[in-house]
Amino acid sequence: MNFQTSFNQSKIICFNELKQSFKNWKIIVALVIYLVIMFASLNLVDDLQETLGNVDFPGKRDNIDVYDNIRENFGSLSIIVPFSLALIILPFIVLFMNFDSISNERNSNRFRYLLMKTDLHNLLLGKFFTSIIILSISTIFFFLITDVHLHFYLGESFNFSSLFYPWLFLIFYGASLSAFFILTSSFFKSSFGALAGGLLGMFALMIFSSIPVVGYFGLFSYLKFAVYSSFGKALLSVVMFFVLSILYLFLAYLKIRRSDL
């Protein structure tokens, strides 16, 4: 099967998954929770803006203004706080969206039907891209609304360019999470098993991120770069998330291929 055909089939599966996703209540609930928490954090930001403006940082005495440093490299604090919250809640949101992406298809026997018409890698890519699209739209929607809110509420100037890097970081982070939960879902035939497996997998990744060699395969190891005021290191994280996404999807492919459907 050539690349064009493969791309077309992945696209068809992706669009079908998107339609099915928005008929599925759990996706809607996950996104609503995600956006509510993010918007609620705006109030926290407003308070922090006020507090930080009045606090005498040690860095300030040494002519190193931490707040100004973050602001220069990462955008305003109004982006940092929801961004940091997203790093924490996104694993749970993505787990909720993807935990049964494979197990549900196998459970309903649709997998066999689909694999008669397309290849396994197209199916996996279609599901993967569906997740990315949903995350991209919801995250960019949130950041845009935040910037508009800050402009009209706090008098800050529009700064859409500062949205791009945090958004990109979150998308790649969410993508690697999606790939990971597609992998865990491929081990189970029941939705309950897939959910338990996803949760266990996530906690295992958290624990292993501190172990020297094993930690390189855990995507949480690369989160620390997000809070460095260094664009270069954040970009390294993005690259690693991309590499891990491919690795996790490849492992899911191998796992499913070796199983009887």
Binding site: N8, R110, Y113, M116, R257, D260
Partner: protein, 300 residues
């Protein structure tokens, strides 16, 4: 006779359990081939392998000369036993999705979907959701899905299982109709009478092995007769057994099945029974498929 589906020494195991043991099938093109066997015989496994969704351990198979799984996808249509569909989609959109996956563009997918809906008599249900269809209609929608792209080989895994008699009959008529378009149909069933009714050739599996294969008319013995008779006595049976042309005799409560060594001695046997004042209700020449099947699985 050309064989469109050939399997050669196929082996398949699920852990320690051997599902297929060196199965070599030869399925003629343009015919309805029945796959018979008791539960656990390996019918679903062989169907899964031929349709490209199950891996096998050893051996090989080909469909229309093609061996690679990616090459056979568009040649085969499968109607699985437990067809699971997208219940939220309309029948038309459901078929359009699968047609697009097969490479049809948007317009062609719609046209093809409408064509197969007409074929299975579901044209009027095109805008109804799949979830609102009856069990029989969903089975027909499964047929429609398998017929997209006019596959050369259509595989039906117990297509009438669980359906009421009138719907089962309509499915059988549909199958006979599809045969006219030179589609090769592989029909897996427990229902021997159904297989005997519509199939041209059969393969009988038992415990993972192919025991018998061939045209039904060739497999059924013609040199035997089954007689339903009243007042059968032991002395009469003993005398029949001694006759020179009798190879084998099975007696029932009010019946006899006699296999002849050579030739057809039905008239001689009937005359003998009448001469011994026995009343013959009916007789039937040849061995039934049921007898062959039960003989093979050892439950006769």
């Amino acid at each position: 006779m050309t064989f469109i589906v050939k399997t050669s020494n196929l082996w398949k195991s699920y852990g320690d359990k051997k599902a297929l043991v060196g199965v070599s099938l030869h399925i003629p093109e343009g015919e309805i081939y029945g796959l018979l066997g008791p539960n656990g015989a390996g019918k679903t496994s062989i169907i899964g392998i031929i349709s490209g969704i199950l891996r096998f351990d050893k051996g090989n198979f080909s469909i229309a000369g093609k061996k690679h799984v990616s090459q056979i996808k568009n040649l085969v249509g499968l109607v699985p036993q437990d067809a699971q569909l997208y219940y939220d989609m309309t029948c038309l959109n459901h078929l359009i999705f699968f047609a697009k996956l097969q490479g049809f563009n948007k317009l062609a997918a719609k046209q093809e979907s409408l064509r197969v809906l007409k074929l299975v008599d579901l044209f009027s249900e095109q805008n109804n959701k799949v979830g609102s269809l009856s069990h029989g209609m969903r089975r027909r929608l499964g047929f429609a899905q398998a017929l997209i792209g006019s596959p050369k080989v259509l595989i039906l895994d117990e297509p009438t299982n669980g359906l009421d008699p009138s719907i089962a009959k309509s499915i059988r008529l549909l199958i006979l109709e599809l045969k006219k378009s030179n589609t090769t149909i592989i029909f897996s069933s427990h229902n021997i009478y159904e297989v005997e009714e519509i199939c041209d050739s059969i393969g009988i599996l038992n415990k993972g092995k192919l025991i018998k294969e061939g045209l039904i008319k060739n497999l059924k013995k013609t040199n035997s007769v089954f007689v339903s008779v009243r007042g059968l006595k032991k002395e009469v049976i003993k005398r029949i057994k001694k006759k020179h042309y009798v190879k084998r005799l099975n007696e029932g409560l009010n019946s006899l099945e006699v296999e002849f060594k050579h030739g057809d001695f039905t008239n001689d046997l009937l005359k003998f029974l009448i001469d011994n004042s026995l009343v013959i209700d009916k007789f039937k020449k040849g061995e039934s498929l049921e007898d062959i099947f039960l003989d093979i699985v050892g439950k006769k």
